[in-house]
């Protein structure tokens, strides 16, 4: 599955590289029995052994997010959705800025922090996880890998040297863990049923998918990934189906747990660090769109305003100096702005040749963070900018 990829977040794996044609397997795929494990002399057994190795490596990887509270929170959602299969699934949160989650054939569930950053509430995350659990239950990965072997003669990244990071690269590039459009439909339907069954708001999955599409479309440089474009009819079709199903349920009395507060409490301590890493993807137009989406629910967040300013400053397109300035100013006006908002505002003011404002903001930054590791640089700006002190 792909809720994101290489920065291109497309839920629709219809658009995948390895499964360009309709899969004949998907509809007929059987559901795993709880506790299932294939014999080692089978193709499936070989695959599981591969994934077991990757999992062993992931367990001691520096990329693994070990924070117990966050892991417990995500694990609990997975377990509630998975029911009898809870014991077969093992959740790993991985420090990776792209938006993705996937379930390996052996029951390893990998959730990237870029996905957690983008979900706005528990119901959205539950839909993504329910979608993934369905892929696992229906053994979609196995079917796809079998197909890939037939097509390409190997397991692509799986047999190559290199560890879990290489595996993730393959996932991100859509070379593995991608599914056919039938499989995506099946996973959407299964995920939707699981989520509704547990009393979550049925509309949140469609919201997440729409946001994903919007972020993707915000990026003007997507020519190479044109095939992944969110405007792809499959994506639209899936979004339509999900919205219709949500509306049908919405017309009747129904449970509607959204879980926005619980979700924010769980990811809150990590969000600033994830936003910092988001910029290392170098996809600033996507970052701007994504942060704006988050701000719809939290218009008063100084943290989000600050990072919106950072996204504009880095994108540096026409008008972004002004955009960044407005965002930093809004951040400072809010209560929870990081001190670095003053540095940010100082930087863009300096670039806009507003020297008095720049001087004030740099001085505020230094007075708030006297031990800043970049103090000498800020002092350099102050000393060299000219204008009246």
């Amino acid at each position: 599955m792909r809720f994101g990829s290489y920065g291109r977040m497309v839920l629709a794996a219809a658009m995948l590289l390895c499964c360009g044609t309709e899969s004949g397997h998907a509809g007929a795929s059987e559901v795993l029995a709880p506790g299932y494990r294939p014999a080692p002399d089978t193709e499936e057994g070989g695959l599981w052994a591969q994934m077991d190795r990757q999992e062993a490596e992931l367990k001691v990887s520096p990329a693994l997010v070990t924070d117990e509270a966050l892991n417990t929170y995500v694990r609990k959602i997975v377990c509630e959705l998975a029911g009898d299969y809870c014991a077969s699934l093992r959740v790993y949160i991985v420090d990776e800025a792209n938006s993705n989650a996937f379930t390996a054939p052996n029951g390893m569930v990998v959730v990237w922090t870029g996905l957690l950053l983008r979900c706005q509430n528990e119901a959205e995350l539950a839909f993504v996880l329910g979608h993934e659990i369905t892929h696992y239950l229906k053994r979609h990965s196995l079917l796809n890998l079998q197909k890939e072997i037939q097509t390409n003669g190997s397991f692509a990244g799986l047999t190559a040297a290199g560890g879990i990071g290489r595996l993730f690269e393959q996932v991100a590039a859509g070379r593995i863990a991608s599914h056919s459009r039938d499989q995506e439909r099946e996973a959407d339907a299964g995920g939707f049923d699981l989520v509704v069954d547990k009393g979550y708001d049925p509309g949140q999955g469609a919201f997440f998918m729409a946001n994903t599409a919007e972020e993707e479309e915000a990026n003007p440089n997507r020519t190479k990934q044109a095939a992944y474009r969110a405007s792809h009819p499959d994506m639209k079709e899936r979004l339509t189906v999900l919205t219709k199903r949500a509306d049908d349920i919405g017309a009747q009395p129904h449970a509607n747990i959204v879980g926005a507060e619980a979700y924010r409490a769980a990811i809150g301590p990590h969000r600033a660090a994830w936003l910092e890493e988001e910029f290392n993807r170098g996809e600033f137009a996507e970052s701007v769109a994504m942060i704006k989406q988050l701000m719809k629910d939290e218009p008063q967040s100084g943290e989000l305003q600050y990072y919106l300013g950072e996204a504009y400053r880095r994108r540096n397109a026409n008008g972004d100096l002004k955009n960044a300035m407005t965002a930093y100013q809004a951040a400072i006006a809010a209560k929870d702005a990081p001190n670095a908002a003053h540095r940010g505002l100082g930087l863009v003011s300096l670039k806009a040749n507003q020297k008095t404002a720049a001087r004030d903001e740099f001085q505020k930054y230094l007075s708030l963070v006297p031990m800043a590791s970049d103090r000498a640089t800020v002092e350099y700006y102050l000393a060299t900018m000219g204008g009246s002190p």
Binding site: G45, Q50, V60, I149, Q150, T159, A161, G163
Partner: protein
């Protein structure tokens, strides 16, 4: 690339063998030397008539067992003790990953005479550094042994294709073994022995050929 026939005919157990020089050679003392081994990185695959590679968990497991068994037998004979690092720490894993990059540098720059680095003539010129002292203390070991093997076998159909393909002069990839073994002195972090394995006909799935392969892999090991 060497011709198929050559590769089929002989084990190429490294173009050169390096023994540690006197200065860094394991000292011949009466104390038993202890060698720690993190799970050998071994993977066996099946190459079928269509040229498709499939990992085989059962073969891999068998190969790991043979490697473990024959290594133990070797060291029992030579008087060294082999211990497995069953629960490697994150620091151990970092050292394993560093070793992988070092091994890649060795294979690139030593086994290819055209790509030499200044002041690097043999694998013994590389080190993991003294961070290995931590492993030495934790496992009470003098050395760490690193094993890496990728091995593929043709199915019988594939072998027929190869025979006929060869007669017809077609260039076909042959099932083969690639790998290396490396011994690190945990006191200094230095590579004290390194051997490359490249073979067209070894077999790690069955007893006797597996023993030959392990022998070839650790040929010249100074312990």
């Amino acid at each position: 690339m060497k011709s198929r026939m050559v590769r089929l005919a002989i084990f190429v157990a490294g173009s050169w063998l390096w023994a540690a020089d006197a200065g860094s050679a394991p000292e011949a003392t009466t104390a038993t030397k202890r060698i720690v081994m993190i799970e050998p990185d071994v993977q066996l695959m099946e190459l079928d008539a269509g040229g498709i590679l499939e990992p085989r968990a059962d073969w891999t497991k068998a190969a790991q067992n043979f490697i473990d068994k024959y290594l133990r037998a070797h060291f029992a004979k030579s008087g060294a003790e082999l211990v497995n690092a069953d629960r490697p720490t994150p620091r151990d894993i970092q050292l394993v990953k560093l070793h992988a990059v070092v091994a890649k540098a060795i294979l690139t720059h030593v086994f290819n005479r055209d790509a030499r680095l200044r002041n690097k003539a043999s694998p013994l010129d590389w080190t993991l550094g003294r961070g290995t002292n931590e492993m030495r203390d934790r496992y009470g070991a003098d050395y760490a042994l690193f094993i890496f093997v990728r091995d593929s076998y043709a199915t019988s159909n594939r072998k027929l294709v190869e025979v006929f393909g060869n007669l017809a002069g077609a260039k076909l990839d042959v099932a083969e073994q690639e790998g290396f073994a490396s011994l690190v002195d945990l006191r200094t972090g230095n590579i004290v022995w390194f051997n490359r394995l490249l073979s067209g006909f070894g077999d790690l799935r069955t007893k006797e050929p597996a023993q030959q392969t392990v022998d070839a892999l650790i040929k010249g090991i100074p312990l």
